[in-house]
Amino acid sequence: MTSNAFLLEERIPAGCHHALLLKRGYALRLTDLSGDGNVGLLAFNADERSERYNMADTLKAQHTHKLTLGNVLYSDMGRPLLSIMGDSFGWHDTICGTTNAAMIEATYGLNDFQLTRNGYYRNGRDGFLMELGRWGLGRRDLVPNANFFSTVAVDNEGNIALSEASYQPGAWVELRAELNVLVILSTAPHPLREGPAYPEGDIEAGVFWAGEVPASDICRTACGENQRGFENAEAWFALPDGGPRA
């Protein structure tokens, strides 16, 4: 996918929030231009927004705690919302959530709007809420997010740490919508990232048409669980718009 083929393109500065409606068959390519970026992501079924990305269902269905090529992001209703159809990065975090204002101040120091106007240090929790609020959603909908471009290693005792593998300038990931999906993004730093310098560098978000999912698709055929998940997504669209759905 070359960038000049994007139907929509946005550059999101570090720390900011953004949303887009990604209809079924379209895909979002995220690129971490600096290598120091993090993209927190929440996803909702745009046709029924009580259906949303579910970290636990995503992990247990695919026996993984990392996300990479071939994985899907499951909703709480047994359907894939987004499929990872391409990934140069390798291991995206699912288990650390996001930052809040106190965490950002503790890690990077006080830098609020009073001090530097729009240069202030933004946090993930507030960014997610400001974006959710635009779509009629709120605190109840702020569930554990995925963190793209951040790798979190787990040792045999269960201890977690942000990995140096997270630093990959130009890393990209492609997420294809399997339902009509409301994607909510925060480019605030990963909660395990250390200070003192608040990250700089944009995230590029480009939308392209991915097309019909072939029977041989790498996400669909990754495991029996995903085969059934894709069947559940197809059932959602089994009848023309306006027809019954379950």
């Binding site: 269902d57 709120g138 005792e157």
Partner: protein
């Protein structure tokens, strides 16, 4: 000397919901062993504040729950602390079983089996109809063994609990405890044989 305020048996596969005031101590007993107790918490005064698995994991820098673990809310506040644990390790990343995830994980014909999410929704709506599915998030699975591997894997494995093992928690705020005594028959989380568990509550 603390006073026992309440003792309940939660039958296999049943929901349960109760209020726990700040300072009170609760014990959950895995009476017959290897029984997953799916558990979630709300701030009793502001139910928009709820247990957060990822904030709990992030704050203690470890994915397993045991003695000393602070159960952290989505507002990054300690709701309860685990003060005693004779099992040793509990899961908070496996979530609760549901009809829909059962179709993905096992087979389409498992859709109509009883599940923890059905229990959660029934208990919540009986408690207060302002609750809905939107209020749920990844829960704690007491007595359930879900090891993570260094290569990124996650597995549901045979339990490390046993008959009579228990976990005790002290509340730091007034909370609602929401329990599903897991009815899952498709994996080893309840030893393929769900059994009763005990809920005990003391004033301190």
């Amino acid at each position: 000397m603390s006073t026992l305020l309440r003792q309940e048996t939660i039958r296999a596969g049943d929901p349960f919901m109760a209020r726990i005031d700040a300072g009170q101590r609760v014990r959950l007993v895995d009476t017959e062993g290897n029984e997953a107790i799916d558990t979630f918490f709300f701030n009793a005064e502001d139910p928009r504040e709820r247990y957060s698995a990822v904030d709990t994991v992030r704050r203690q820098r470890n994915v397993y729950l045991t003695t000393g673990t602070e159960l952290v809310s989505n507002e990054d506040r300690a709701m309860l602390t685990i003060v005693d644990d004779t099992c040793g390790r509990h899961d908070t990343l496996g979530g609760a079983c549901a009809s829909e995830s059962n179709t993905v994980r096992y087979a389409h014909d498992r859709k109509f089996m009883h599940s923890c999410r059905d229990n959660f929704l029934l208990a919540l709506l009986n408690w207060n109809e302002d609750f809905s599915k939107r209020d749920l998030g990844p829960n704690i699975n007491f007595f359930m063994n879900v090891p993570l591997s260094a290569d990124g894997g996650l597995r549901f494995e045979d339990g490390i609990s046993g008959p009579g093992k228990y976990v005790e928690l002290v509340a730091h705020m007034d909370v609602l405890i929401l329990i599903s005594n897991c009815p899952q028959l498709n994996n080893p989380c309840s030893g393929f044989n769900p059994t009763p568990v005990e809920f005990l509550l003391w004033d301190a």
